[in-house]
């Protein structure tokens, strides 16, 4: 079984470490929710996995092979897909063109549309003109079309109304059910825990609650409150 593993991963930015010594294991078909307050270092951690920024200590590996020396493109081709914070669409491209970048051909686009039927009617619209929710759907579909093994999602809900975001959740679950490991960073903590198999909390760059069943955190509000608000 293939897995994405972080062991003692440390990420530095400017002054010093923004993430230190994180251990986690992401398995195929599993959703791991990574939650924590603003500035905890979640985004930096995801960026170090996909190669946007380098990690400074520890290791990041896929199936036991270290990715430390790999560039972004090589990691993408090894099956790491990263949905960045904000709207990661290519605004000047149509929806179809966005999908073609990873689906390679029209058949691939059709295949993806089967899982994202809502995009069908907007397929030739310029993606900049779509609503926020539709744009995030395009981004999910584009990532799915690349047939990733691991999907890193960074705060898809940013700037979306919660009801809109809730429509995206089943799509994420659906992607995971095809055997993709999903690392989910999300500000809507309870929504994220609701669809996750496992969860961990990051605060001030450190793991404040180690990886474990998501249910445990969900059912213990005091544990979660402390991890977030301190005190």
């Amino acid at each position: 079984m293939s897995e994405l593993q972080l062991s003692g991963t440390t990420v530095s930015r400017g002054a010093g470490p923004v993430v230190s010594g994180v251990d986690l294991v992401l398995r195929e078909g599993e959703i791991l929710a990574l939650v924590g307050p603003n500035g905890a270092g979640k985004t930096s951690l995801l960026e170090s996995v996909s190669g946007v920024i380098p990690h400074s200590a520890g290791d990041i590996s896929v199936d036991g092979r270290s990715m430390a020396k790999w560039g972004r493109v090589q990691r993408a081709r090894a099956g790491i897909a990263h949905i960045e914070q904000g709207r990661a669409i290519f605004p000047s491209l149509t929806v179809r063109e966005n999908l073609l970048l990873t689906a390679k051909n029209d058949a691939g686009v059709q295949e993806v549309l089967a899982s994202f039927p809502e995009l069908e009617k907007r397929i030739d619209a310029q993606s900049a003109l779509l609503s926020g929710g539709e744009q995030q759907m395009v981004v999910l579909a584009r990532a799915f079309a690349s047939k990733p093994r691991f999907l890193l999602i960074d705060e898809m809900s940013l700037g979306l109304a919660p009801v809109v975001f809730m429509r995206l959740l089943p799509l994420i679950q659906q992607i995971a059910s095809t055997g993709v490991g999903v690392l989910l960073v999300e500000q809507f903590t309870h929504l994220a825990l609701g669809i996750a198999d496992e969860a961990m909390v990051l605060a001030s760059g450190r793991v404040s609650h180690a990886q474990g069943p998501a249910q445990a955190l969900e059912e213990d509000p005091e544990l979660l409150r402390r991890a977030y608000l301190g005190g």
């Binding site: 400017g14 002054a15 010093g16 919660p162 809507f188 001030s204 977030y228």
Partner: protein
Amino acid sequence: MLLANRSLRVALPFVVAVLALGVGWALSVGLSGYVVYLAISMVTATIAILGLGIVTGSAGIIALCQLTFGAIGAWIVSWLNVSHAPGGFIVWLVAGGIGAGVAGVIIGLPALRLRGVNLAVVTLGFAAAFDVLLVQTQFPGQADGAQIERPAMFSSDRQFFFFAIIVLVICALGVFLLQRSRIGSSWKAVAFSERGTAAVGQSVSAAKLSAFAVSAALGGVSGGLLAGQVGIPYASSFTPIQSLALYILAIMSGAYLIDMAIFGGILWVLVPELLKRWGVPQDWGFVVFGVLGIQALTSGSNLGEAIRSGIRKRAKRRSAGAADPGSVTTSVLDVFAVPEAEEPIPADAPPVLEVRGLGVQFGALKALDDVSLRVRPRSIMGLIGPNGAGKSTFVDAVSGFLPQHTGAVELDGADISRLSPVSRARRGLRRTFQQDRVPPQLTVEAYVRFVARRALDRDELADALAFLGCPPPEEQLANVDVGTRRLIEVAAAVLSGPRVLILDEPAAGLSHEEHLQFGQRLTRIPSRFDTAIVIIEHDLDLVRTVCTELTVLDFGRVLAQGEAGSVLEDPAVVAAYMGDAEVTQ
């Protein structure tokens, strides 16, 4: 010993200047006739590069028309010569410098809106157009072969070389003193960040235009000298391609450093001369400059900085272990404990900052909607909220960077809603930035004095720095990590004695332990400096220990407001932080 050091610091540049004059005189006597002539070229090039160093190095502008300013200076000198203007060469030279300086301000005017590559296009366009004009019209007196009259005392080449050295020494001394002054600091600050410059009360326009004026004036003086050297100037001495080469030379040598400008001047003359001796066509000189320029521009480094950091490293290695910097801190903390017994603020004192109904709209998005708050004198208010709640927009609006905001901002009862960021800062409303806005070219001391905008006792300065855990005044900011730079930014803003200080995530780059230590020190600032603080912070442990009052923003609106402890217990606030605010409703 310290006192002696300080007076040495004042006297040293003048001593160096006198020594340089002596060396110049000796060279003017000792060098061979041919070399003296080359040496004059070296001096004129040095003055032009010195000027270029100000805009390219200090003010960070791509200026590709330095020799055009030289041509303007030469043109004015020739014209005054032909029209037999009174005063002789020295007065004409000054007039040339002033004329070029005025042209520099005119070319600099677009720079108030244009930056980077746009400005490069403008300056290159100016150089190209002026070159064509110059070839068409020629210099005054060029057609009649009217020689420019050198000053009577300096009529031979040897004497004129000494004259050029005098001019160079005056220019270099002037540039050195300017670089060390507020104006020089403003050039370096504006190069790094315009917002950061305005936020400390320095006019961005004044900084940019003064850089252009001084730079162009030096170009004009250089051109005027060249006119005196050759007798009849030609357009071929001031072509755009030479301006390009000069720009590259300035970049790769680091010409904002005076010694490196001199080094650049030497290279300018030496490289083609050596090539000539070796029988290589002189045009290879520009090829060499081109290759070195690619290296410098891709690596972002220059020779001057490389040499200096090498020397600094050596010095550091030698003095390592000699001093223990940690020992200052405790004693300083004790000193700071005393003045806190100032009279207390009465409970009914009017607020020092009052914001009423503040609104900011970006297109269809209401980034801030009807936000009101009152900050009492010497209090610390925390401004918290989830990502995208509008905290930084609030700081931008209150500090004047979003002039389209609605609602009112009052400082000490006076409405400042229509004022620019610069005048708000000067009235005592200071802010710091989430991004690094501390110009790395300055020393800690120069930066703090620039930001404080008032006379500071050196001990006061050193104490305040040590108090907040900052490096000593003489440290170069480039050697300080970003997290510590943010602390220096806070210390400098505090030393300006503001009425209200707004801190936007000041401790973001620090470790958790440093974070808490910073918080403890922060609590003592209001009473010590009679300052109220508004702080944006995401570490709620820090907020809990530092802030007396809290305002919570969510989706651009005030979610909760009041005494810190009770606000943090508010279920709505907890829910907002978990991202559950609207889900649960």
